[in-house]
């Protein structure tokens, strides 16, 4: 991909403060995370009526309850009893027909409706007005997304052509997954950026990442990049002369054969999607992983990495191939964490006013541009809003 074709993204240095400043992060909470579709689950986690998962979005102090209803529909609600705000569900996942508040035993159905509350006729409200607060939810490629604000477009419209790509990724057919999680003392963008540039591969992954680089392409730069709105994609370069080790070759060979047999080895096996704001997914059939980087505060994040699989482990070879794929992916991800934290420590010092992205770090620049655009628009929106005096009646409305 020529450097000139990326000129529209700009070439100027990037301000460093957005990567460590708590005030900037406060703006991102509202401008980015409350106003974007956020990926946080998979339909395979909700196989039955009454299946539920709880998800915490710490940057927004939000706890969500995602439930498959009796009608088969998956819905998202705030995990909060409409009586006095008590969080309803403590379990991370499970299955039940009703959700009962531990405080005063208000109980809600899988559709969020208030079903019963002790001594309810002494309240001054209708049951119909006490349903769990609903959150916008949509599904693409088997992946569950929620929107905590009022979406100005549906998920598929937001993703544009990437929605169809997502439908073709192995995760779309997944029925189970492996998962590993890490905490990191680093800003979510700094963390995320590490995984959307290949400039570091030869230095941080000299052995584990060796198959991704070669004499023709020593940095393993991608074959192409693409952009749609705030989202982006790249196609990973394929080394024409890989030299896998014996166990490595056997392991990935098995995984590839299962992917072929399962029909999950699609046309996007070298493609990668980076969906705004904080989600990646790779179409590789042998190691089909997703990676979500959740902000906790300006300088702390959590990464959740999943390898999605179709079908149960129906034989020893399949179980082995999945174990190897997870262990191998985990090795590579583990190598990144220390150097990202080192970058954060440097930025926290305030020594730098700017950072620099080269042409092959275009995806990083694109993420910053998308965040900056939203933060500036949110700032302007707040500046133009003149809050009227709040009467007691309005405060109670």
């Amino acid at each position: 991909m020529s450097d000139d074709s990326l000129a529209w993204l700009g070439t100027a240095p990037i301000p460093a403060a957005p990567y460590h400043d708590p005030a900037w992060f406060d703006l991102e909470r509202e401008a980015v995370f409350r106003r974007s579709w956020l990926q946080l689950g998979h339909v395979c986690e909700l196989p039955d009526s009454g299946s539920f998962i709880r998800r915490e979005i710490e940057a927004l102090n939000v706890s969500l309850l995602i439930v498959r209803g009796r009608d088969g529909e998956i819905r998202a609600f705030h995990n909060v009893c409409t009586h006095r705000g008590t969080q309803l569900v403590e379990e991370e996942s499970g299955r039940c027909g009703t959700f009962s508040c531990p405080y005063h035993r208000w109980s809600f159905g899988t559709d969020g409706a208030l079903l019963a509350a002790p001594d309810f006729d002494r309240f001054f409200v209708d049951k119909a007005d006490c349903a769990l607060p609903r959150v916008a939810l949509d599904i693409c490629g088997g992946l569950i997304f929620v929107h905590l604000g009022t979406p100005d477009k549906g998920l598929r419209d937001d993703l544009g052509p990437y929605a169809t790509m997502l439908d073709g990724f192995p995760a779309a057919q997944a029925t189970t997954f492996s998962e590993y999680v890490y905490e990191i003392d680093a800003n979510w963008k700094l963390t995320y950026d590490n995984f959307q540039e290949n400039y570091h591969l030869r230095f941080i992954h000299p052995r584990s990442g060796a198959p991704a680089v070669g004499e023709d392409n020593p940095f393993g730069y991608p074959v192409k990049m693409g952009f749609h709105g705030p989202h982006r994609t790249q196609t990973i370069w394929t080394n024409p002369d890989p030299a896998p080790k014996p166990v490595q070759a056997q392991s990935f060979g098995r995984a590839a054969r299962f992917a072929m047999a399962d029909g999950t080895a699609g046309p996007h096996s070298r493609d990668y999607l980076a969906l705004f704001p904080n989600f990646f997914i790779l179409g590789s059939p042998a190691q089909p992983f997703s990676h979500t980087v959740w902000p906790i505060d300006a300088r702390r994040s959590r990464g959740v990495i999943r390898l999605y699989w179709k079908g149960k482990d129906d034989c020893a070879s399949r179980r082995y191939a999945r174990e190897y794929a997870m262990a191998s992916a985990r090795d590579i991800h583990a190598e990144d964490r220390d150097v990202i934290e080192a970058g954060q420590r440097g930025l926290n010092s305030g020594a730098l006013k700017h950072i620099h992205f080269q042409a092959q770090e275009a995806l990083c620049r694109h993420l910053f541009n998308a965040v900056d655009e939203r933060v500036q628009a949110y700032r302007a929106e707040r500046a133009s809003a003149t809050p009227p005096p709040v009467s007691r009646a309005e405060a109670m409305a």
Binding site: D314, R330, R337
Partner: protein, 112 residues
């Protein structure tokens, strides 16, 4: 000893007590905590038998493996982790083990 492992895999018997490990978390941990010479010896013995072991194990239902087969299965699953040290990382392993410690396995189809 004859029932410890299936016929043909007797060479792995000296390693069974340390390397037939249940659960992905424990397997990953053993790789990092192991004595380097012990880990290398296990790899040298097990890696050449990987293909034969999986071929043998594929003949039985995965959820109802006899004890000897289950032991062999668990050893091959541990080999998946150990091979990354022995084949890929080499002398980078000590620093790498510390980095891996931060990557907490929370779910695996085979049982975390």
């Amino acid at each position: 000893m004859t029932t410890l492992l299936p016929t043909g895999f007797e060479a792995l018997a000296p390693f069974a007590d340390r390397w037939a490990i249940d659960g992905s978390i424990a397997r990953a941990a053993r790789r990092g905590d192991a004595d380097p010479a012990d880990r290398a010896a296990f790899f040298a013995a097990a890696a050449p038998l990987l293909d034969a072991a999986l071929t043998h194990l594929d003949r039985s239902p995965i959820d109802a493996l006899p004890p000897a087969e289950q032991r062999l299965m668990d050893m091959m699953l541990t080999l998946a982790h150990v091979s990354l040290t022995e084949e890929i990382l080499g002398d980078q392993e000590p620093a790498h083990a510390r980095q891996r410690h931060h990557m907490r396995i929370t779910r695996s189809p085979a049982g975390a």
